[in-house]
Amino acid sequence: MDFGPHLLLASLEGAVTAAILALTAMGLSIVFGVMRVVNVAHGEFFMIGAVIAWAVASSFTGNPAIGFIAALIVAPLIAGIIAAVADKLILQRVNYDPDRTIVATIGLLYIIQQTALMTFGPDARPVTPPFNTRLSLPWFEIGESGFVMTWPWGLSTTSYKLFVIVAAIAVLTGLWVLMTRTKAGLIMRATQQDSETAQAFGVPVKRVYSYVFGLGAGLAAVGAVLVVPIQQAHYLMGHDPLLLSFIVVIIGGLGSLPGTVIAAILIGMSDGIISVFFSPTLAKIIATLVVALVLVFRPHGLLGKKV
């Protein structure tokens, strides 16, 4: 394949990675932004989402779309409820102290991971995509005979991958509307900016924190449900999303939602493109290098505020 079509193919793969990453990292970013909690267990909520998606989807027979839609509703809901309960049982008890929440969420990481292993076993589980038509993509070039459209062999994507991108955009748009246009969003933003004063104006801060922790986990789970028809569900799959989410949140600026989206696109696209042309390991090395550079030259991230 020529370089041009090859790059287009890599970019499409990158866009899928970016879409999933944007959802997952957004969950981490919201939790940090509102609660100032560094949630080390975030990747495990992603894993829960994926494993539950498999469990739900495989319990339906017949059209895979029904199981998938059920998974898309049930998995984020369960992940959100588990997170909200964990907030009440653990984070609230340590008063959201920064050091202790990190240790507590490390503990939570292993509890969730091992529970998943004991419940669902060590196997990787596939989920059938609801639709998966192969779409060949055209390529345009100006040759000797003028402008021609060709159909290079291998340049194709699937309808499901395009759906993932569209779905991620839809969820993120919904989140933006929630945060900026609704009362719930106003309460979350007020709590983020000054939780004590918010409380002095009747905001039940503890309850808001539980909802936000649940929302963060739910976003990771949505990302996971979207990804399981492409990758398989597995009890150790939480590591990469956690690492990449941290990378994205640090580059975007801690707590900045627009920064998170921009960084997710940047890291997702470069991850996809570098993985296709070189190797996935090199992609991770470069992403980590970018974090190091950001921390040195712009410690507050792309759109974060100086502290």
């Binding site: 933003r189 007020a190 900016q193 000054d194 004063t197 409380q199 104006f201 009747g202 905001v203 039940p204």
Partner: protein
């Protein structure tokens, strides 16, 4: 009306209030006077339930509010203007007011009422709170507290760092609230400002209330100021 009875409060291990008591009546302005670090702001925060009491009670019209969860206390219509204003800096003027309205589910008429009191804010509804001038920020902080249609209004150094014309505006609003039957508790450093509007003065020192006197009595006996404040 609002009765603070023998409260003991600590920040972690550091005890700040050692049995403070005070009373505020509706239609009356009570000023708390005391040196820096005496515990005035702590008293305000304790009334709002933002700090846990280790002993004592806060009652509003006989109802013990100090045992309620902190976010329920403002719903008793206690408006709070914190020290340093504590606006939500990245929210707009309109959104800051909205937060105040949501506390007691007040509607548009209260919004209009508050904006009529502070017409300056009406011109700046879509502006971020952090970009307002100091005086406008104080107006917004006061407006946000008035959105509760308060029965009790707590003002912690409302004139700190403001120019005289702004101080006068805030003063007029406080006097107006008093005439509408609100119980006002105010922390104020400037003795002249206190003497001009207060009905009663409570001196606070080392986390105790030393003495409560009427403002008239204080005007006749300025030596009390020297005794308690050293000014």
């Amino acid at each position: 009306m609002l009765e603070v009875d023998d409260i003991h409060v600590a920040y972690g291990q550091v005890k700040v209030l050692f049995g403070t008591s005070l009373k505020a009546q509706s239609g009356e302005i009570l000023c708390l006077l005391g040196r820096n670090g005496a515990g005035k702001t702590t008293i305000m925060k304790s009334i709002m339930g933002l700090l846990p009491l280790s002993a004592g009670t806060v009652k509003l019209d006989g109802k013990v509010i100090s045992e309620m969860p902190a976010h329920e206390i403002p719903k008793e219509r206690i408006g709070y203007v914190p020290q340093g204003r504590r606006l939500f800096p990245e929210l707009t003027v309109s959104e800051n007011i909205e937060i105040g309205l949501m506390t007691c589910q007040e509607q548009n008429d209260t919004r209009e009422w508050v904006l009529d009191i502070f017409p300056r804010l009406r011109e700046r509804l879509d502006q971020q709170a952090s970009t307002l001038s100091g005086g406008e920020q104080q107006m917004l902080a006061t407006a946000r507290a008035l959105c509760l249609r308060p029965r009790v209004l707590l003002l912690d150094e409302p004139t700190e760092g403001l120019q005289p014309s702004m101080i006068e505006q805030i003063r007029q609003v406080v006097v107006r609230m008093k005439s509408e039957g609100v119980a006002v508790i105010m922390v104020e450093q400037r003795v002249d400002a206190v003497l001009s509007i207060a009905d009663k003065v409570t001196f606070i020192e080392h986390g105790n209330d030393l003495e409560s006197v009427t403002a008239d009595y204080l005007r006749e006996h300025p030596e009390l100021l020297k005794k308690h404040l050293g000014v």
